[in-house]
Symmetry: C2
Subunit: 329 residues, 2 copies
Amino acid sequence: MKKLINSADTVLEESLDGLAAAHADILLLGADRKFVRRRNLKPGKVALISGGGSGHEPLHAGFVGHGMLDAACPGQVFTSPTPDQMIEAAEAVDTGAGVLFIVKNYEGDVMNFTMAAEMAGREVASVVTNDDVAVEKSTYTTGRRGVAGTLIVEKMVGAAAEKGMPLAALKTLGDDVNRRTRSMGVALLPCTVPAVGRPNFTLADNEMEMGVGIHGEPGRRRVPLASADAIAADILGAILDDLEPSKGSEVLLLINGFGATPLIELYLMANSAKRILDGAGVTATRFLIGSYVTSLDMAGTSITVSVLDGQSKELWDAPVHTAALRWRM
Amino acid sequence: MKKLINSADTVLEESLDGLAAAHADILLLGADRKFVRRRNLKPGKVALISGGGSGHEPLHAGFVGHGMLDAACPGQVFTSPTPDQMIEAAEAVDTGAGVLFIVKNYEGDVMNFTMAAEMAGREVASVVTNDDVAVEKSTYTTGRRGVAGTLIVEKMVGAAAEKGMPLAALKTLGDDVNRRTRSMGVALLPCTVPAVGRPNFTLADNEMEMGVGIHGEPGRRRVPLASADAIAADILGAILDDLEPSKGSEVLLLINGFGATPLIELYLMANSAKRILDGAGVTATRFLIGSYVTSLDMAGTSITVSVLDGQSKELWDAPVHTAALRWRM
């Protein structure tokens, strides 16, 4: 295992300390590093809280800040956070307008966020994301997995919360954005969990895992390595079959790297994906290209398509100031 | 070779097309993709042009936009751009106030930018960056290599140009920022040039290359894999010995990933580096953590320290709106 770490036991803690030092203007750590929270809260705004296993950085802590999350609860690598983390985060950032949990659809996360919602003693609603079209049931999931589309939900709901939208409407909006959003990924190389010390699956030199999950879970099939165009066609075929956008739709295209894929390849994938969308009569008018929802050092990419309308374009374009996404402020 | 590409021959072209599609609000491509330029120029501002071999994305094209570069000339992977690229870029973006070239110290780049400056038929000055303390002479370099510190020069000089600083003063400023800035890197895994198809050097499972260059050039020594703290101490020892910042100095700390290193490890390195700087009586008050000056799919990191003063803090904090760096606008 070749990693820039000191000890497999302290990766999360040390990385969170680095995050907090680097972005002290935006965020700070809760007691015992149970959560990452905005430094400055906005009274009367619904508090948005997300979280999940670590190893997907910058998701979620990198999205804490103006226009996105109020807090993020990091579990150990690929391990759900515990309910006390969400309860303490809610206590810290709820200014009285209630709390919205944004939860990726994994059994541990859903169970722990549900317990936290019941035990928090305050008004809580939840949006569960399940944008991954690859498989209907996976290693840690009943139903579809929540993957890179989660950041789109966090951005759009975050912008609406910033503008004062109340809790029930935010819940409806989040569910709606999730329904308009689909993702699928491919792995070229596996990832290694520090505490395990060896790759969490194996791929031959000429193989890739089509439909891989963000923890290296199996996808649809193990296939021979293919060209960027063929990969984009396969993934977008699955996404568009399921999403069924009407001809002439505008979409947001997210090309996401899994952690070990360089930007030169992600922009090349963006070019392939855009051409295929154009051919399908769908126009990408918003783009996000980079490694935003990662799987430690896995090589590969996911493509996410989110159908836009006037409201969602406005919410996407709205100011955001977090460690990982910043624009218009 | 596992890469998201269609053909080794078209990687650069396709990736540039993806970049241009994704950031059409900021930049556009010159004829035959010879350069990437700002969509909107600012008349009367000195034009800043950089460039170099590709494979280091987002450097340089990702830094084209308000507050940084006016144009970037991408060569093929790890290959200098040719003088006609810089000449045509200068023709496209010089609005009459002259042109500043920002050039990393590699023989091919320096030669080609020098030829372009002589042949451009306009007022041109050049800043050559050489921030890498690892070695005094390298595979493609006489003198020190220009590496991740180049982006700090581009940011600070870019902010000053935006405020109307004239060409001669920008040249002086760029040389001064370069002199205040030192970097050194380490590779854990090699990179693979698409047209070559195999790793450009080999490392045993327990080895790393300390002082590696951004093309995988040899560094100071091949050493056993070490902890993040030990790596940070080694690199910062070399940097601080050379830079000799006075006690109480404020610095900008850049933890740069080489392309295949996940953010969780880079934030952990930031934590190690900050602690060591604190111990040396030097305070990091500005941070940049991410993969900004990469080496294709090389795993590893570089640390850059740049000594700040009132002017350079203001220039660093000034608004920037590029594909890869965005803040305050």
